[in-house]
């Protein structure tokens, strides 16, 4: 999916059910918004409650008293208690708040005339709806009063006063009422001549309907149209359900309006009447609550009782992904809206792309797809959008530049390496520790390599480098492909050995590229491990599964097996295994949106008070950086001082480079007895003094020691700098490639004290170089 097309957008949007109506509304034949009604009652806003009813109900005072409430049959509260007493609450509303009729002035009058025969709920509703649309309606009733079977309800349920009051709206809508006018088959032709359309508001197959249309009259159940053009009839047999009779009249009114406007009677009518909503509602963790009973059944709910009963409403929503993902929550809406924003962002030709940051802030971890009842993966959409942005040259350069330069470093001669095991000329296996473990804990790479060479036969080669994940996450497909090709060539050269990964991200990136890869944890789970015998009990730990292992249950199991071997008790986090959460590094989130990535760490580390164990170096470092005691799984096997290992802060960006470079040099020296011929650049020999405050600033601004060294080397060599005569400090800048770095410094002994560093991407054109 490169360019999301309209149709694809639609398919994706359909997966997000959040905008679907709640079950009660969908189940109501005329779609009263009962969820909103409950909210109005909770707020004691009866005026708004009545307006909510009026929006869909033609005569709320009547329907509120007699509705047969199919909504309650589908109310989700049913699963956890009993359905909300929606009908009783409607009655409460109409008893305690009198209505205002629609404002006649708001209606633009039409010249067309409609005859409605019969003034039961069908006819009344059709007359009301059509009059509200501006048609000239005449209502024919054979009796001496309108209302039909409404008059059969017990007086204490529906009094004559209420009927008269509620139906008086018809005269305000200027509906002509002709009482004592029985319409027979003989009148039809005459009426047809006089009126543009006619509705026979009678129950289907009722004696009156048969008398008018004949015994075997035809009727379209979708449009209410009879075989006679311009004449519509009731499609529902009987009068048992007041609300369905209302819906029957409304359906005909819609058809008559369409008929008179000369548009299709059949198009887009799927949403009419009762249906089952697609809205997903998770009731699993909801406390069951019984219905609030009435102190006086006859009088109905008191205000307090009504508020209490309305408060049982679950306010049905899906929001499954929002509950699980801080990123999705962060933008204040839900995926259906985000999809549209992303689509618009991709389609923009001129103007601002407001969703760039949102697209680049997703960790691409796949948790949303896991928790979404329809499996909607917003990360996939963000990833595809990044590819599109890169392809169009519209990816903000600042978003991923630093991470891509880090990747370039790891795949440069400074770190990259591919060798057979010393004294072997073939490899059955090759260990690929990855760039981040090598940066965070290079000593673990040495230890693990030693273990693997001891335990496995047939030669264990070593490959250092980056798997290409930063390029993949950044949407840089070409770069990712080129990187994969280089790695594949090296792997071929080693004789296609089985790859052993220590990093879950490398594992996921290699999954489709190389056959039979195996995770270090899967191997270790079946090995005798160093230190395994010494320990009595390790205590309790919670496992942070790496998000890139989401669909790798064998890795989840292997990690737990190793922990058990090491005699740790395991606490499972609320979100673990296939529902694990990203640490905020995935998808390069921490580069595109540092604040959000920090929030994500804070959220994750607050899930349990128990110490965490991670098997991804980035998860470990990021949690520890926020003060969460976290071990890397290898710490539990190799660390001399476990206390120190749990709290040691993450390695800063500068030292991540240095650690990788040192690891390579050390391994070349100790294992292959080679003295690397390092080409030292002049700037590398510059000594710096950096205090904690400046160090933090540098980390925060992604400024490396080597960037500072280059600025100072250039400034001191060329004299191009500013000086402060008052304190002897210098301020200088240098632009190695795309970023200009500024450093405030002062010479001291054999080196320089660094006071400040900052950078900008905009290029300044200066005169007179050197």
């Amino acid at each position: 999916m490169l360019l999301m097309e309209q149709e694809e957008l639609k398919q994706l949007e359909d997966k997000c059910t959040q905008e679907n109506p709640p079950a009660c509304t969908a189940g109501c034949p005329i779609h009263v918004d009962a969820r909103k009604l409950m909210s109005d009652i909770q707020k004691r806003d009866l005026k708004s409650a009545l307006a909510t009813l009026q929006k869909k109900q033609p005569f709320p005072g009547i329907i509120g008293r007699i509705c047969d409430h199919p909504c309650e049959d589908v109310c989700k509260r049913r699963d956890v208690g009993s359905p909300i007493s929606i009908a009783a609450l409607e009655k409460f509303c109409v008893q305690n708040q009198s209505g205002n009729s629609p404002k006649a002035g708001m209606i633009s009058k039409k010249s067309q005339t409609v005859a409605v025969v019969g003034s039961g709920l069908r006819g009344l509703t059709a007359a009301y709806d059509l009059a509200k649309k501006g048609y000239k309606v005449t209502l024919f009733e054979k009796a001496d009063r309108v209302g039909g079977s409404l008059w059969n309800f017990p007086v204490d349920q529906l009094s004559p006063e209420v009927i008269v009051e509620e139906l008086s709206v018809l005269s305000r809508l200027e509906v002509q009422i002709e009482l004592n006018r029985e319409i027979t088959r003989l009148d039809l032709a005459n009426l047809q001549e006089k009126f543009a359309a006619m509705y026979l508001g009678l129950a289907q197959q009722s004696a009156d309907a048969v008398e008018l249309l004949g015994k075997n009259y035809e009727l379209d159940p979708v449009t209410s149209a009879t075989a006679i053009k311009g004449i519509f009839g009731g499609t529902l047999a009987g009068n048992n359900s007041p609300i369905r009779s209302v819906a029957d009249g409304r359906k005909a009114a819609i058809s008559i309006d369409r008929f008179l406007q000369g548009v299709s009677l059949t198009a887009s009518r799927e949403g009419e009447g009762s249906y089952e909503s697609k809205l997903f509602v998770n009731t699993q963790e909801i406390e069951p609550l019984p219905a609030v009973s009435m102190s006086n059944e006859q009088a109905g709910y008191t205000v307090e009782e009504a508020v209490a009963e309305a408060s049982r409403c679950l306010n049905c929503q899906c929001l499954e992904c929002i509950k699980a993902c801080k990123y999705i929550e962060n933008y204040g809406s839900y995926p259906k809206k985000y999809l549209r924003q992303i689509y618009n962002n991709n389609s923009i030709v001129m103007g601002m792309r407001h969703a760039n940051k949102m697209i680049n802030s997703c960790s691409l971890c796949g948790l949303c797809a896991e928790v979404c009842p329809q499996g909607l993966d917003l990360g996939e959409v963000c990833k595809a959008s990044r590819v599109t942005m890169v392809g169009k040259g519209k990816m903000p350069p600042s978003a991923h530049d630093f991470a891509l330069r880090d990747m370039a470093f790891s795949n440069s001669d400074k770190f990259a390496l591919a060798r057979h095991q010393p004294d072997c000329n073939s490899s059955s296996y090759v260990f690929f520790p990855g760039c981040q473990l090598s940066a965070s804990s290079p000593e673990h790479v040495e230890n693990v390599y030693k273990l693997l060479t001891e335990k496995l036969s047939g030669g264990v080669g070593l490959m250092l480098g980056c798997c290409g994940a930063p390029a993949d996450w950044a949407g840089e497909q070409d770069l990712f492909r080129r990187n994969s090709e280089v790695l594949a060539a090296e792997w071929e050269r080693l004789g296609r050995p089985q790859i052993i990964t220590a990093c879950s991200t490398c594992h996921s990136m290699f999954q489709t590229k190389f056959p039979h890869i195996v995770s270090l944890w899967e191997l270790m789970a079946d090995m005798e491990l160093p230190g395994q015998e010494d320990k009595l009990s390790g205590g309790k730990v919670a496992v942070q599964d790496a998000c890139t292992t989401r669909h790798e249950p064998s890795i989840h199991n292997a990690v737990r097996k190793i922990l058990k071997k090491l005699k740790y008790d395991i606490e499972e986090l609320p979100y673990s295994r296939e529902r694990t959460k990203c640490c905020g590094y995935g998808g390069l989130m921490s580069f595109a949106n540092r604040e959000l990535a920090q929030k994500i760490v804070e959220d994750r580390i607050s899930e349990s008070d128990v110490d965490y164990v991670a098997y991804c170096a980035m998860c470990r470092d990021r949690f520890a950086s926020k003060g969460k005691r976290t071990w890397h799984l290898l710490d539990l096997i190799y660390a001399d001082d476990l206390e120190q290992a749990a709290v040691k802060p993450g390695v800063g960006f500068s030292y991540r480079h240095e650690n990788r470079a040192k690891l390579k040099r050390k391994l070349l020296h100790t294992l292959w007895q080679e003295t690397p011929s390092d080409q030292e650049e002049a700037y590398m020999s510059i000594n710096l003094q950096i205090d904690d405050r400046v160090w933090e600033t540098m980390e925060d601004r992604h400024i490396l020691i080597e960037d500072i060294q280059q600025v100072i080397e250039y400034a001191e060599r060329t004299g191009r700098k500013f000086v402060n005569p008052d304190n002897g400090r210098s301020l200088a800048h240098y632009r190695p490639l795309r970023v200009t770095y500024w450093v405030e410094y002062e010479p001291q002994n054999q080196g320089f004290i660094v006071y400040n560093a900052y950078s900008h991407r905009m290029e300044i054109v200066e005169g007179a170089h050197e």
Binding site: F722, H760, A768
Partner: protein, 70 residues
């Protein structure tokens, strides 16, 4: 220094190459193919331009971000 209110006073920096005072002058800046001319402090002799931390992290950053989203 970067947390203090907008600097209105004179900056302490002099050109390290010629020792000259810095003065406001026309400077060419460009980003993502967009060129501007702005008034910034520079050494009129040597052409060195001073971009302060406040400017780099403030206005300049804002302009960079909005050009990136264009």
């Amino acid at each position: 220094m970067n947390n203090t209110p907008k600097q209105t006073g004179k900056l302490p920096w002099k050109c390290g190459k010629c020792g000259g005072e810095l003065e406001r002058g026309l400077v060419k800046a460009s980003y993502l193919g967009n060129d501007f001319e702005v008034q910034e402090l520079k050494c009129l002799n040597c052409g060195l331009v001073l971009i302060t931390e406040e400017l780099a992290l403030g206005k300049m950053f804002e302009v960079e971000q909005s050009l990136e989203d264009k």
